[in-house]
Amino acid sequence: MDRAKPSALRTPAAQIPVAPRRARNGGSGWWRGLFDTPANAVITAACLLLLGIAIPPVLRWTVLDAVWSGTSETCRSASGACWAFIGEKFRFILFGFYPRQQHWKPALTLVLLFGMIGVTAVPRFWHPRLVVLWVVAIIAAVLLMAGAPHPGTVATDVWAGLPLTLLLAVIGIGAAFPLALLLALGRRSRMGGVRWMSILVIEVMRGVPLIAVLYAAILLLPLMLPAGVTLDKLLRAQLALAGFIAAYMAEVIRAGLQGVGDGQYEAAKSLGLSYGTMLRLVILPQALRIVIPSFVTLAIGVLQSTTLVIVIGAFDFLNTARVAASDPNWLGFFDEAFFFTGAVYFLLSFLASRYSLWLERRLRR
């Protein structure tokens, strides 16, 4: 059978001629290809026309006719966006119900978390100590939100806004990782029981929407706990979120594990490495490196999914903005509220995706 295959398939990849990119235009300026053929010219013109129709009203609303300061009365008489609303509600949108005189605590939490994310983004700092640092940072952030130096004085009910969104996402991803690793390894395990259990967990979690998992954690979990034991509402949501992320992350990791050639496993085994040592020294470093971009994509998704905690009555960043517009004194500025939160979410997600592209290039080197 083998012999019947066309010979081209046997040609080593390096020998297959690859057409040089942009050969037809012979240049690499961004404008090339916009007008080179009639079809492209029509598409370009249509896009320009659409932009021409869309941009002026958006610009008029966001900038030209916008109200930058004043009361809700000044806003109501104007036709543009009411950025004075964002100014008035800025602290509420950021920190929600957190006691106002203690706002430095969630602010410091934000600085801490963004700082840690910034540090983690630099490959030079990738070191086991970083994980220890993360654990310390998250504990510090949680204690700070709980009212450090007197932890426990601020109930989790009033945790809100951007710090809550970030904490949910960061702790969710952090807690999901070890679980995801076990699930991914379990799914590739040769032990039938372990494999089937892993498959069951992953597929059930991926098969139901996050909102259902959150409801289960909020409504069903308390019924399953022994009498007299209650888990904090936010903690229940966080556990549900972590479990949900773990299922998706397990599949990402599994893809990485499959991307490592069989030869690597065989070579490691032939050196006499144990299963654990083989994973730690040979397989995981390669497997995880392959899937770092997928991790970033997953993290962006998680950041945006955290808004679903609205169903348990928690006030994440999006929800504080929405509720800010239900103050009778500043009623109905939903467009501004969602524009502002949308811009912040976009900025965070965009930075993350640019970073992922940069990292991909760097790791390929």
Binding site: H127, P128, V142, L219, P222, V323, D327, P328, G332
Partner: protein, 361 residues
Amino acid sequence: MMLQSLGRISSRIGRRVGRLGPVKAGVITLAVATTLLTAVSPDAWAGATLDAIKARGVIKVGVGTAPGFFSPDSNGRWQGFFVDFGRALAIAVFNDPDKVQFTSSSPQQRLPALQSGEFDILLSGVTETITRAMHLGFHFGPVIFYDGQGLMVARKLGVSQGTQLDGATVCIQTGTTGELNIADFFRQNKISFKPVVIEETSQVRDAFTSGRCDVLTQDSSALALERLRLPQPDDYVVLPERISKEPLAPAVRYGDDQWLETVNWVVYATIQAEEYGITSANVDSFLSSDNPGIRRFLGVDPSVGEAANLDPKFAYTIIKTLGNYGEIFDRNVGPKTRIGFERGLNQLWTKGGLLYAPPFR
């Protein structure tokens, strides 16, 4: 790279914790644990809700989010019609309107949360129904807001009552009970209407503003918000009729009659004050009243309050701080606010409404 030594890390953490010594490590673990876990929260299973409230020093109230009824101001402080009743309860129990903690709860989650002890009371606009009262295990206090499906029309139509709407076109959303209620309403009043049935909420609003229909119908509290989202809210008016019943009452779980009665009489106090004509502005002048009923009510004659196991002056303090029912209503959702509700059914029984307080004696 990063994960090459994941295994090493756990042992490192272990060593580090070990270096801290058992006491310090224990303290840290405990601090983290108490922050994250409210394990064995005592109030969840205490026999009496009121005892737990007094031990805790604060009333936990579940609210919703709707402008005028419950919404945070720019400082993150809860304001609104239902919120004021929460503050009134805090005055009755602690003589301090701020010893109350409001937490927003979603409609799906609020009743289980009340059941599990997360809240002492729901002031989130729960409709009183027989299923909730008898099957699900919740007691309801007095209805503090009679909501119901309402009708909104353009002011320029000059309509002041629903019965004048003969032949009107009505915008309705499909698949809601509103569709059935509106048909019943017009049939009962023997007038005709043309329904315009639309799927999408935003399209219903568009159809109404573009003049495709004369009437927009929804639950009246939702209608008030809808009105404010229209380009020129002042050009529209919500008619006083309510064509379905949505009695919104405070809800408490079974098991503490004393707490339920406290809720009852706090609400009655605001209603009774309005009936007596006592307001936050003139309450002090009533202290010298000769009327024995008013003297009992305000605690000048302390016998009733003492018998009720409450601060005899609780009604006085509530009226002085928050005002009577009418003041609370007008301040939060009344005609002069942006919400712009008429009193309608939420008017004293003496003025054609349903508010009626039993005697304070």
